[in-house]
């Protein structure tokens, strides 16, 4: 088999924490500890293998890199101390920067989440799901929210979401939740994004 290091080098240089996978010893703990192991086709270890094997398309289009929920379980258990979660997110971010969307729903949710932070300086349990649902238009959004009703109700029951958030005007004026100095925050975030873009270029 022809052994091509080009993609591995690209990952080491351009992906956030990408060079850390060099110390992976392929033990398999990460894939087997991940709570989403049933959903992932490959899991972190096999993705590192694919990177080493130069399989760029397969890696960057892989939904697994966007399934990571940041639970940290693999990362605290990795016997080699690889910051697995950071690499998974780094890969997802890198894919998006290349115009590749490994998993559409996660990308949309991430966008809603991020825009919420950017606009108001905080994560709002009401704003994020609303933004997420409305990304494909009002009708599709209503359908999606109905489809996710059970999750919403469960969240309210567990007091993770407050019903009053959905009562106007709270929905329509997310601006009321803005933190002080949101402009400064935005300048910081813009700067961080510029640094990232330079690295990924």
């Amino acid at each position: 088999m022809d052994y091509n290091q080009t993609f591995a080098k690209e990952v080491y240089e351009k992906v956030d924490s990408g060079d850390e996978i060099k110390v992976c010893m392929q033990c398999g703990v990460c894939g087997a500890t991940c709570p989403l192991r049933g959903e992932m086709k490959y899991g972190p270890r096999q993705i590192w293998s694919l990177i080493r094997a130069g399989r760029r398309d397969e890696v960057l289009n892989n939904p697994d890199i966007m399934l990571c929920t940041s639970c940290y379980t693999c990362q605290v258990r990795c016997p080699r101390g690889v910051p697995i979660m950071e690499v998974m997110h780094g890969l997802a971010h890198y894919a998006l920067a290349q115009g590749i969307v490994p998993r559409a729903e996660t990308a949309k949710f991430g966008k809603a989440f991020w825009e919420g932070i950017y606009d108001t300086g905080r994560v709002d349990e009401a704003v994020v799901p609303i933004k997420y649902c409305l990304q494909d238009g009002l009708v599709a959004g209503l359908k999606k929210s109905l489809g996710m009703m059970d999750i919403g109700l469960a969240l309210m029951k567990a007091k993770r979401m407050k019903p009053k958030m959905f009562i106007p005007p709270n929905i329509f004026i997310p601006g009321v939740h803005k933190i002080k100095g949101v402009k400064q925050l935005q300048r910081m975030l813009d700067k961080a994004a510029a640094i990232d873009a330079a690295k990924e270029a």
Binding site: M25, Q26, C27, G28, V29, G31, A32, T33, R37, Y42, G43, R45, Q46, V76, R77, C78, P79, R80, G81
Partner: protein, 415 residues
């Protein structure tokens, strides 16, 4: 120079490393004082069922060494003894040693009448707590010295009195207060050995939650004829003969969160222990879960031999989780890195191949010495490290290292 004008050599720890160093130095004509923390010498090797790679009983080798010790007037042994301070420099050290009371003097004939007389029991340290023994006990059948010990927990009680009254030789001495020794020696050899890594620290293995998860050192005792089951391999939980035995390699070793180094002997220990299962329970299925099998040099032949038996299934996976079941079985989860499959497998006995932690990482030398980041003694120091306090190793390497330590000590004494 005669023996008398030369200073003695102190050896701390009477395992294979310390015994080898002591014997080599004594046989070269030097006075040797051996200080051993346990009530007997031999170290952890005394607790093994068989030796890899030849699968002979470790007592063969130990017996030969014991005979060499007994026939050599230059070696003095203090058991139940520990070094409390070291001062000076090579050529002239002053060492303080604390000897704990044994409550049994050298009149003991090991008849066992004291043990018959007492009813109190303690967890048996020789069997890694797998069973209980009387609080008046012989550490093990072939202990050297062959002398009983009264556990301090009963020394001041009626139970202690019963033991004293039962001894026909007046060997039980409840007034034993131990002693403090001060030694002037020319060299100090540190051979304090190792401790199995504590598996309860690997919390996702749930070691404390199931009696049917044992460590490799406990498994040696389960296979040994002088062990808690007289050599029958049984599940500690219910005494049943296991049908599906799993060995989990690198349990704590090669892990940044635990012992970051390879313990070097546990692959061979599990290969060896798989032959115990083959011999004693021919029907049982055996699986070894590993990252990679490390059987170096001539030991690779042993690996090849076990593999060729076709009785052991080798699964390339570090186990990520052990979940005890209500029926006492264990579910193991991992990712088979050869096939990519993420699996769950049920076993009825699990052996954790725990690694070697140097005792110098757990209890330091009372002298200004340097350690590597894992607590192993580094070379070229005033106190001479030997064996498993220098690096994880099998017995052959420890014996070689013992000779080398004896030579270094002889040079220091000659200064």
């Amino acid at each position: 120079m005669t023996d008398e004008t030369k200073k003695a050599i102190l050896v701390v720890g009477g395992g294979m490393s310390g015994l080898s160093a002591a014997l080599e130095a004594a046989e070269a004509g030097y006075q040797v004082v051996l200080v051993e923390k346990n009530a007997y010498v031999g170290g952890r090797v005394a607790q093994l069922h068989q030796y890899f790679p030849k699968l002979c009983p470790p007592y063969c080798g130990l017996e030969i060494n014991f005979r060499r010790v007994k026939s050599n007037p230059r070696i003095t042994i203090h058991t139940l003894a520990e070094v409390t301070s070291i001062e000076g420099a090579p050529g002239d050290f002053t060492v303080k040693v604390k000897v704990s009371p044994r409550y049994v003097n050298d009149k003991c004939t090991a008849c066992g009448k004291c043990a018959d007389a007492v009813s109190a029991t303690i967890p048996n340290p020789f069997n890694y707590g797998l069973d209980q023994i009387k609080a008046a006990y012989l550490p093990h059948d072939l202990a050297m010295p062959l002398r009983y010990v009264i556990d301090p927990s009963i020394a001041g009680t009626d139970e202690g009195q019963k033991a004293a009254a039962a001894c026909p030789y007046g060997a039980v001495d409840l007034g034993d207060a131990g002693q403090e020794l001060s030694l002037n020696v020319g060299a100090v050899i540190w051979a304090a050995g190792w401790t199995p890594y504590d598996p309860s620290k690997i919390e996702y293995y749930n070691f404390d939650k199931s009696p049917n998860i044992v460590t490799n050192v406990q498994f040696e005792r389960l296979a040994a004829v002088n062990g808690p089951t007289s050599g029958a391999i049984q599940r500690p939980g219910d005494g049943a003969a296991p049908k599906k035995v799993a060995f989990i390699q690198c349990a704590g070793s090669r892990d940044e969160n635990h012992l970051p180094f390879c313990s070097s002997i546990c692959c061979l220990a599990s290969l060896k222990q798989s032959t115990y299962v083959m011999e004693k329970l021919p029907e049982a299925e055996i699986t070894i879960y590993f990252i990679d099998i490390r059987a170096m040099d001539r030991n690779e032949d042993f690996y090849t031999k076990v593999k060729a038996s076709n009785k052991v299934q080798f699964v390339k996976s570090k186990i990520a989780m052990i979940t005890p079941q209500a029926n006492g079985n264990l579910i193991l989860e991992g990712e088979n890195t050869a096939t990519g499959e993420r699996f769950k497998a049920e076993h009825d006995l699990v052996v954790l191949a725990t690694g070697m932690q140097p005792n110098t990482a757990l209890s330091q030398v009372p002298f200004d010495v340097t350690y590597d980041p894992y607590g192993f003694l580094t070379s070229g120091q005033a106190v001479i490290g030997v064996g498993t306090v220098r690096r994880p190793s099998e017995v052959v390497t420890c014996v070689q290292d013992g000779t080398s330590a004896a030579l270094k000590a002889i040079q220091a004494v000659g200064r």
